[in-house]
């Protein structure tokens, strides 16, 4: 991976794509951890509407929290394979618990002919 990375511009609010090329959310927030004796490092990418709504003004955040109940998902930085236009993972979305809602809708839609 490259030597320097602008987390605000190149990671935050970028699309996450899993190892099979399936979109599985955006980098909605970042979680840091203290490294012993050094600068903090990125521990997790946080994914989910609750995470990004916390970065918007109170009214928007309140609105989103009224509609969305699903908890956020934490993607460990070690699962990131490549940072480009999209953030590519080295694992499947399912193994991290991402894209649950899509799989729920998929089961439901599968009953309709032509799906």
């Amino acid at each position: 991976m490259r030597k320097s990375l602008d987390l605000g511009r190149e990671v935050l609010d970028h699309e996450i794509v899993d190892v099979d090329g399936v979109s599985c959310g955006m980098v909605d927030d970042l979680e840091f951890e203290d490294a012993p004796g050094g600068a903090p490092t990125v521990a997790n990418l946080i994914v989910g509407p609750i995470a990004w709504s916390a970065r918007t003004p109170a009214l928007a955040a309140w609105l989103v929290r009224r509609v969305v109940r699903t908890p956020v998902v934490r993607v460990p930085w070690s699962a990131v394979a490549h940072v480009g236009e999209t953030i590519q993972l080295r694992v499947t979305a399912q193994s991290l618990g991402l894209g649950k809602a899509d799989r729920r809708v998929e089961r439901w839609l599968s009953r309709i002919p032509g799906a």
Binding site: R9, E15, I16, M26, R55, T56, R103, V105, L109, G114
Partner: protein
């Protein structure tokens, strides 16, 4: 498919998909109210849509990034969220107007009850998107929309006053007009530009380029399609202004309803003209309904990072599929309340222009960024034109609501 056929088909689709119910209503009414006085706005709007669809299509071909993902990355999360909500509202309003327009056209063709046809339209749209492949949706409705060219033939058949057309291409306020008439003039100027550049067209065009799997090698194709296709589409807008000026104004007819618009073709060419106009409007409105509904789903999916696209099976992009279905459900419900589609058009057009600067800015910034676009970034001329146009559209956006309130929605 051969390269030439692909370019040809792309152009025809762009022409056929250029006009929808809002543009039809506003260009005809502007012509019947101000003659050729607002013709320049059709040219200005066409330049804008060419510039920004070219950039959005180029970004999609080179980086496979759709517009809303750029908006979220570049305008900041809060502005992007507000833009998402505003653009979804105008997409849904536009879609509802098109669904109503299709039902009106079907009613003229069949004589069946309007509300029954709205429900029929809802089922028709859901089945079409569910079953038809993306490229066939583009082709069927784009090519069918070419029947709208009957309006160009009608305008030419009436023998337009070419000198008036030429003078209409120069922006000039009407002389001896009262302040109220001036406000109405500028209201229509903003509305025509907005109707030509409706935000869904850029969202749909860029997402469509990704649906069609465009590669960097396709940027030439992209350029030809937007330049030739949209310019030919603009000929149709000019013809509609001309019909308003030369056919409806002398007869003191306000051509707001699709059926009234079709009268001009019917009087010139009898039942052949009438059927061509009605079928052309059906394909044009239906195409726009599908594009606005899909655009709503594209935008939401791109903002939230869901899998999206018609190239996926419906179940593989479950939440995306569910979103366009719900959009049609909401649109059908709005129209079933009995609200006049032409009234909805007015609201959707006025609010659309406010969404445009927020849509265009991130497209321009990314298309100009050499670190992202490399050799395919904007040249100097494109940047100058792009920024100049952004200023124009921002002024129009700021003026839109005051003009709407001042003129009570363009009431002369």
């Amino acid at each position: 498919m051969g390269r030439f056929a692909e370019v040809f088909l792309g152009i025809l689709t762009a022409v056929g998909g250029f006009v929808e119910i809002g543009e039809l209503t506003f260009t005809l009414t502007a012509g019947s109210t101000f003659g050729y006085g607002l013709l320049w706005t059709t040219v200005l709007g066409t330049v804008g849509i060419i510039l920004y669809c070219e950039m959005a299509g180029r970004i999609a071909a080179v980086k496979h990034r759709p517009v809303f993902s750029l908006i979220r990355e570049r305008t900041g999360l809060t502005a992007a969220f507000v833009t998402l909500i505003a653009s979804t509202v105008v997409n849904v309003l536009t879609c509802a107007a098109e669904v109503g327009g299709v039902a009106l056209v079907w009613q003229l063709l069949s004589g069946w009850p309007y509300r029954l046809l709205v429900i029929g339209g809802f089922l028709f749209f859901v089945l079409v998107i569910w079953w038809m492949k993306f490229e066939w949706i583009e082709r069927v409705f784009g090519l069918g929309g070419l029947l709208m060219l009957v309006y160009v033939v009608t305008a030419l058949y009436d023998g337009p006053t070419w000198s008036d057309i030429a003078s209409g291409l120069v922006p000039r306020q009407p002389e001896n007009a009262s302040p109220h008439q001036l406000a109405v003039y500028w209201y229509y100027a903003v509305a025509i530009m907005s109707s030509i550049m409706l935000p869904y067209e850029t969202y749909f065009y860029a997402s469509g380029a990704i649906e069609d799997h465009w590669k960097p090698g396709d940027i030439g194709l992209n350029r030809v399609i937007v330049m030739v296709g949209f310019s030919l589409g603009a000929v149709l807008s000019v013809a509609l202004v001309s019909l308003g000026a030369e056919f409806f104004q002398p007869r003191h007819v306000e051509p707001q309803l699709p059926g009234t618009a079709a009268l001009s073709a019917a009087i010139a060419f009898g039942s052949v003209g009438l059927y061509a106009a009605l079928l052309g409007m059906f394909f044009a409105f239906a195409g726009a309904a599908i594009e606005t509904a899909l655009s709503s789903a594209y935008n939401i999916a791109q903002f939230l990072g869901w899998p999206w696209g018609k190239y996926r099976r419906p179940r593989e992009a479950g939440r995306f599929t569910l979103t366009w279905f719900v959009v049609f459900l909401v649109c059908a419900a709005i129209i079933l309340t009995g609200v006049d589609p032409v009234r909805i058009v007015e609201y959707s057009i006025v609010f659309s222009v406010i969404v445009l600067p927020f849509t265009y800015l991130p497209v321009l910034v990314v298309a100009a960024d050499r670190r992202i676009m490399g050799a395919h970034a904007n040249g100097i001329a494109m940047n100058v034109l792009g920024w100049a146009f952004l200023v124009v559209i921002t002024v129009a956006a700021l003026a839109a609501i005051p003009l709407f309130l001042l003129t009570h929605g363009g009431q002369g």
